[in-house]
């Protein structure tokens, strides 16, 4: 498999895409498919049109990413992974446009169950009525094979536009997918994955007494978790919700997590606190904290583990949580530098709003926050 990652930070979409096409043409005679991580600053309505116009291909997937990775660079523009199979590798795309529809969970589980020996990379949106994290954990209940170590992915990251739409969309098959997901399915590929955390739990344990979807209302003694969270914000001027990303909640009683299940703060309302992933009643939690050093140490640890398993690889993917990147502060680039230098390969990836990976025992799918999921691949 021949792979390479290109980027452009040109201000307009056609210029950025032309710029990338020129780079690709210098390095590839042909390719099998392209994966675009595209900043939500570009007009999304034009994305399919210009990709088809500039590249003259249908074999692509695009998705929103506030920042993407091109080898050891963090890009605020467009990054593209170019894949050209040289032996037996194959690619297919599977997508559903609305996860709120009744049969979406079963359809998705059936798709995984029909392809248990292939690698699936899932790129989803935030979700509308049903949140994507809840959807993934529902799908997990219907997966009927083991080990479930062949499904990973992340949630597209974007921001709210002037019309109030949160731009975390996917672009495939001439469609703009606003409330669904796309799966890139790869056959005849060897791969290794691992998940980096690095946060440590601190303090006392709370038990969740009332929660629904992504919202946490009450903890033990019927204390409003919103009041507790507000006490963390005390004395900090011009409070920004991202400050709470330094102290994500650490779910304790979920022993099935590949790493501990963290939840990133999204919103502090009067009666509840909203996170970037599902919260369940009866779970126990602590608060957690990590320094950039601790996070990078964990990145290095998993990079070494992945290298031991795969020996060499032809491309790396890094699905790294936006909140994790925030906590890394000015050392953000070091995460991808560690991966690239340890595994000596090109790297593609993006800042996610939630990560998808297996559980500890490789029996189920889990929805993670504040992790970095590393995937290393090579064609058979």
């Amino acid at each position: 498999m021949k792979t390479q990652v290109f980027k452009s930070q040109e201000k307009t979409l056609p210029f950025a895409l032309e710029n990338i096409k020129n780079q690709i043409d210098k390095n590839f005679d042909s390719y099998d498919f392209l994966i675009f991580a595209i900043s939500p600053d570009y007009p999304y309505i034009d994305i399919n049109y210009y990709i088809k116009k500039v590249f003259n291909t249908e074999k692509y997937l695009g998705f929103h990413a506030i920042h993407s990775f091109c080898d050891t660079e963090i890009v605020e523009g467009i990054s593209v992974a170019v894949i050209k199979f040289e032996r037996t590798g194959k690619v297919e795309f599977f997508y559903l446009e609305d996860i709120d529809e009744d049969d979406t969970v079963i359809k998705t589980a059936n798709y995984f169950n029909s392809n248990p020996d292939k690698l699936h990379i899932v790129i989803g949106g935030l979700g509308n009525k049903k949140r994507f994290g809840t959807f993934i954990e529902e799908v997990s209940q219907f997966i009927n094979y083991q080990p479930v170590n062949n499904i990973i992915g992340g949630v597209s990251s974007g921001h709210r536009d002037a019309n109030g739409e949160v731009l975390s969309y996917q672009f495939v098959d001439s469609k703009i997918i606003k409330n669904g997901f796309v799966i890139i399915t790869l056959s005849n590929i060897d791969f290794a994955i691992d998940i980096a955390l690095g946060f440590k739990p601190y303090g006392v344990t709370y038990e969740i007494k009332k929660a629904k979807d992504y919202k946490l209302y009450l903890v033990d003694d019927n204390r409003n978790f919103s009041d507790i969270t507000r006490s963390f914000m005390k004395g900090i001027d011009n409070f920004d919700i991202r400050y709470l990303w330094y102290i994500p909640i650490y779910i304790l009683d979920d022993e099935e997590g590949y790493v501990a299940t963290l939840r990133t703060f999204k919103k502090v309302a009067k009666d509840y606190v909203e996170f970037f992933g599902p919260i369940k009643e009866g779970q126990k939690l602590k608060l957690s904290f990590a320094t950039p050093e601790e996070l990078l140490k964990e990145n290095f640890k998993i990079a070494k583990k992945v290298k031991e398993r795969i020996e060499y690889c032809e491309i790396l993917f890094d699905f790294s949580c936006t909140a994790r990147q925030y906590v890394l502060e000015e050392r953000q680039r070091e995460e991808i530098e560690i991966y690239v230098s340890t595994l000596n390969s090109n790297l593609f990836g993006f800042f996610t709003f939630g990560e998808i990976g297996p559980d500890k025992h490789l029996k189920k799918l889990k929805f993670y926050n504040e992790t970095s999921i590393l995937l290393a691949m090579k064609e058979r």
């Binding site: 601190y202 303090g203 006392v204 709370y206 003694d221 507790i228 006490s231 963390f232 914000m233 005390k234 004395g235 900090i236 400050y243 709470l244 330094y246 102290i247 608060l287 904290f289 502060e329």
Partner: protein, 199 residues
């Protein structure tokens, strides 16, 4: 800037942890206290139960063995005609009468006297004193009789005294307790029989 925010966040987290830790400790202490009270108190009357009585009695005897200036009076009280209240008015009424009797006993003894419900309608009071309590008990009986005139309720009592009633005060404390209760119980029955004859 970010470092200051992180320090403040961690300070706030520490404050919350301290508060939560204190509240857990307080709740644990409260629970221990409640459990202890449940173990030593009679649920119906709120008086001490027989387990606490015997425990306290043992400590008191040990103390009086070393310092014989004071005496211990063990007063065994058994209500007269209480069964009739239960049979005539039902157990709820009987329970209320027991509660009222317990209140009267509590008011008429000193705070540091130990009053316990020993059995159904039996009470034991421990007094550490130099003065024989007969006069006080007779006055108490009069109060109970006046208070429960309509039920014709009264009580019989017997008193045992440590060290006066114990031949060898160096015998096992548990044996002394047993003898003191038996003596007071026997004297209570004598009082009951005598009163029944008079009636």
């Amino acid at each position: 800037m970010r470092e200051e925010i992180k320090i403040r966040l961690l300070q706030n987290l520490l404050e919350e942890v301290t508060k939560k830790y204190d509240s857990i400790l307080y709740l644990k202490e409260q629970k221990l206290k409640d459990t202890y009270l449940m173990a030593i108190k009679d649920e119906l009357t709120g008086l001490y139960n027989r387990y606490y009585l015997k425990d306290y009695l043992a400590k008191l005897i040990e103390k009086l063995k070393r310092n014989q200036n004071n005496k211990l009076f063990l007063i065994f009280i058994d209500l007269d005609n209480f069964k009739l209240i239960n049979d005539t008015y039902g157990h709820n009424k009987g329970d209320n009468v027991l509660k009222e009797v317990a209140e009267i006993l509590t008011v008429n003894f000193r705070k540091y006297d130990v009053i316990s419900r020993y059995g159904g309608d039996e009470f034991i009071v421990l007094l550490e004193s130099n003065e024989h309590p007969t006069k006080k008990i007779n006055a108490l009986r009069q109060k109970i009789e006046e208070n429960f005139k309509e039920f014709n309720l009264s009580f019989s009592y017997g008193i045992s005294i440590f060290p006066d009633d114990i031949e060898d005060i160096n015998m096992e404390t548990q044996e002394i307790i047993k003898q003191l209760i038996e003596i007071a119980d026997k004297r209570m029955y004598e009082d009951k029989t005598k009163r029944e004859k008079v009636i």
